[in-house]
Subunit: 197 residues, 2 copies
DNA sequence: CACCGCCAGATACCATCGGTATCCGGCGGG
DNA sequence: CCCGCCGGATACCGATGGTATCTGGCGGTG
């Protein structure tokens, strides 16, 4: 039985999580600019005041949302490559994941739209850059690990591969969010070329 | 001596061109959302009414701006590859152009930010997709031409190369507009890998 | 156990923006 | 020469992000 014995801090944490959850859905579906704080708060069952009492503003809310999304993405990549199988199986698993990842949800679209916002606020820009560097670092380590494990070498430095894959993913996703005819397999095709030797 | 003998249509065309010119500068410098039509009109020496009498709205103004930018970009690429020299010289010329193209101006940032806007307006989305397809087509033909001329074959289909290069350029530019430490050379590195055999 | 300070969240309000409706003044055809 | 037409100006609206202020109930204290 869940006691109604919840401290104020716990209540606030619940409010915060619910706001992030609702905001994530709306940001991904409608984009950053088209999602108003009023609508997020209302959909979550609160008023705009709740948002401003949990986040410094719209940007900080979006950063919190991006943190959740990034964690999900990292987990997805790890799941694909962690299984005990040969490289081709792993690449296929990753390709399948990338397919549904670059397919419908508009993650990269949100990422780049928010990037435009960040350019007007040094603090937001710094926070976003920090996250991007972590992601590139993670990709680089993963690529290095996979390459070594499979006895392959990359055609260019690992850091270049990481930057290329992140850029390609972001760009491809952004293009695809407009034109679903853009071929998703381009991503894995390029990836194979970069790690082949 | 330039006669003041200008028809009304000519005057309006001048107004339109001036608005596009000013809007291009402000969109690239501050981004789409952060550029208000009031400021554009004022900076151009007109009022907001002039904007709405020349364009259906902010989106159409931005499409006109993108047309100008696209034309400049295409010309830049052609200039790099049209010169009569060996492949490596051409690639170096292109690399130099890409360096200053992906470096400071925030073209790709504008492109992806406007892409987010386009998702809420079918007509705008269609117009943008049309332009993207033309660009990919142009890149594809150029790559095919260069490869054939140099007796090389691409490691993946030409259309894939074109999509990869456009996506990579867009993504890399978007990332770089936030974090200038992201390596520009990634673009040409990947390009070399894709056309080498 | 009663009381009161404090804080999460609500409410009211403001500036700015894209967009629309309406108006004005000078060009150009009759 | 004159009047209709249209490019551009002006006034206004609804929505949005952000700020200031208020309030009611939780939780530490005597």
């Amino acid at each position: 039985m869940t006691q109604t014995k919840v401290t104020r801090a716990e209540r606030q944490a619940q409010t915060r999580d619910r706001l992030i959850e609702v905001a994530k859905e709306m940001f991904l579906r409608d984009g950053y600019a088209a999602t108003s704080l009023d609508k997020v708060a209302l959909e979550a069952g609160f008023s705009k005041g709740a948002v401003y009492s949990n986040f410094r503003g719209k940007e900080e809310l979006c950063l919190a949302v991006l943190d959740v999304i990034h964690a999900e993405k990292v987990q997805g990549v790890l799941d694909a490559f962690t299984q005990d199988a040969d490289l081709d199986t792993k690449l296929k698993a990753f390709a399948a994941w990338a397919h549904q990842g670059l397919g419908e949800p508009r993650w990269t679209a949100l990422e780049v739209e928010f990037g435009a916002v960040a350019r007007h606020n040094d603090w937001v820009a710094a926070e976003l850059v920090k996250r991007h560097r972590e992601i590139r670092e993670a990709i680089g380590q993963l690529v290095a690990h996979v390459a070594e494990e499979s006895g392959l070498s990359t055609t260019v430095p690992v850091q270049t591969v990481a930057t290329a894959l992140l850029s390609l993913g972001v760009g491809l996703g952004a293009l695809r969010s407009l034109d679903s005819h853009v071929d998703v397999d381009v991503f894995t095709d390029v990836m194979r070329v970069l790690v082949r030797d």
